[in-house]
Amino acid sequence: MSSASLDRGFRRSRYRPPAAKPAATGPKRNPLRYWPQYAAVSPFFLLFAVFGLFPLGFSAWLAFHRWDGISPVTFAGFDQFRFLAADATFRKAVVNTIIIWVMATVPMLIMSLGIASMLNAVKRFKTFYQVVLFLPSVTSVVAIAIFFKAIFNNQVGVVNQVLTGLGLPAVEWLNGYWTIKIVLALLMTWQWVGYNAILYYAGLQAISNEVYEAAKLDGAGALRTFVSITVPLLRPVILFTVVISTIGGLQTFAEPQVMFGSNASINPNSGGPGQAGLTMVLYFYQQAFNNNNYGYGAAIAYAVFAIVAVFALINWRLTARSEK
């Protein structure tokens, strides 16, 4: 979904129906002539206006007010943002989110690339592997979170049973600052590693074999071919996966919410013991919908948006540059 592919799409749509041609080439185009096209795109833009554009403005307005949905609205000025800047819990949530996202995304995308390369190499069972790789991404995140909560349970979890069976000490997975993050990162890796591998596999299939033949003739080894040919040619797909993993990972909500519950944020253990699993969007949810603090919730939502946008841009730049 790079800008290049968008341009290509635009250029591709050069078809003009003969009936509309005179109007298109004439000095003035009468928009009314195109009423069927406007009618066709209008449902989306109507919904967009009501559920997209209006809420954006409303959220911005709310961020400068105090409202619990019942008592009268009061003007707050920059108070919500001032409070947010000093809010230690929000800062904790930001740090948690970034740590979990890095722990999940970086190893996952590397693994996905490896899996895709192997899928590209084998000749048999390709469809079977692809179906299995896809399966976790269509499975309900609530069910998966319940499953991970069960297997990493301190007493009855199979992970600890295996560890003690091997003579190793049991780990209190769902109690520690780092172990909670590891479990959440593993969950996200399990769910999305196959999906990303499929995307990379599709990209690998688009690379012409002649490129590899030429590299071989030039005496390039396996590692050199991978670094100098495969990765640069996969750049658009890598860019896409990095950006969607950033946007998705920084908005993690359901995983910690199902595992640790969504008690009001005054609870010191919301998001798990020590709030180690409290993510930005989980904190937003608690403030807005458990505490009915709509104004503060809107301020958090804008802060999350800013953080996600900054990281998506940084990643875009880094990935786009690394190919040179």
């Binding site: 795109v41 809420p55 490896g114 048999r124 309900s140 319940i146 003690t164 690998l204 948006f305």
Partner: protein
């Protein structure tokens, strides 16, 4: 190591020139199965273990060594699930929502995509850009105002609060526009215009029959997303008797949290319908998404 070997010998190269296929190449391709099988086992393990936990009793999990094969207590666990949450009611709600959203998205997105793909009209590029910009805006920015809107129009706790906002989406229009651009030849549209077809008759008579594979992909994608949607239903469905499956499952997890056999039986029941749907359509879905990704 295996990864590096296989990268040097991509599949097509050996397929295109079987005569030159060296011994090392063949071995590398075969060795690549080992990590793939390992990945397969890791990805399938949760499904197997969910079955194990859902078919045993809670006390079985405390045994050393633990039970690693399915037991015989599935029915009693399932009946505990059914007494704890309104399972079939939530499943019916989820089905109504997912089916309605899918039907609406397929119709509205493909029609809008047809206009964007094959027609030029004033402000088209502006509207398309606006749509893509909206695509980038994270959901939680609009969550609070949407909730307040739903309160104002009295839709809180109803299924239309889930269906109407999801009835058309930027992703579907974007994807479908790409699909229609390539899949629908301009010549047959020209022919339809010559035959006197207007925009909507072209859409029904020419475009819809041609884009059926694309609709199948977008349909499965939309259905799965709607079925698994969790955040918005959790917020807007405030009546505990009127939930979707994911919210009901989460409620089961909250109320029977330590009752692992029962909670896992609920998780099993909740994932079975979608896994079956996916497996039935999987071949088509997988090949379409591979094609869609390189587009």
């Amino acid at each position: 190591m295996a990864a590096q070997k296989t990268i040097a010998t991509p599949r097509g190269q050996t397929a295109g020139a079987p005569a030159r296929k060296g011994k090392g190449v063949r071995n590398a391709a075969r060795w690549a199965h080992l990590p793939l099988v390992l990945t397969t086992l890791l990805l399938l393990f949760p499904f197997y273990w969910t079955v194990v936990m859902a078919t045993n009793t809670n006390s079985d999990f405390y045994l050393t060594p633990p039970k690693v094969v399915p037991g015989t207590h599935l029915l009693e666990n399932v009946s505990s699930v059914l007494t704890s949450i309104n399972f079939f009611g939530s499943m019916a709600n989820t089905f109504i929502v997912a089916a309605s959203v899918t039907a609406l998205v397929l119709f509205l997105d493909s029609m809008a995509a047809f206009a964007f793909a094959k027609y030029d009209f004033p402000a088209k590029n502006f509207l398309f850009g606006l749509m893509l910009a909206f695509f980038m805006v994270p959901a939680q920015l609009s969550t609070v105002p949407q909730f307040i809107t739903m309160i104002q129009i009295g839709w809180v706790g109803t299924l239309q609060a889930l269906i109407v906002p999801a009835a058309a989406n930027a992703f579907g229009i974007f994807w479908m526009r790409q699909y229609i651009s390539t899949a629908v030849p301009d010549e047959i549209l020209d022919a339809a215009v010559v035959d006197g077809c207007g925009f909507f008759r072209q859409y029904v008579l020419v475009v819809l029959p041609v884009i059926r594979p694309g609709l199948a992909f977008l349909g499965i994608y939309t259905f799965v997303a709607a079925w698994n949607d969790y955040v918005w239903p959790l917020i807007v469905l405030i009546n505990p008797d009127m939930l979707t499956l994911q919210v009901a499952l989460s409620q089961l997890n909250t109320t029977r949290g330590t009752d692992y056999a029962v909670v896992m039986a609920g998780a099993l029941l909740a994932i079975i319908p979608l896994v079956v749907v996916f497996l039935v359509f999987s071949k088509q879905f997988v090949s379409d998404s591979v094609k869609g990704a390189v587009r």
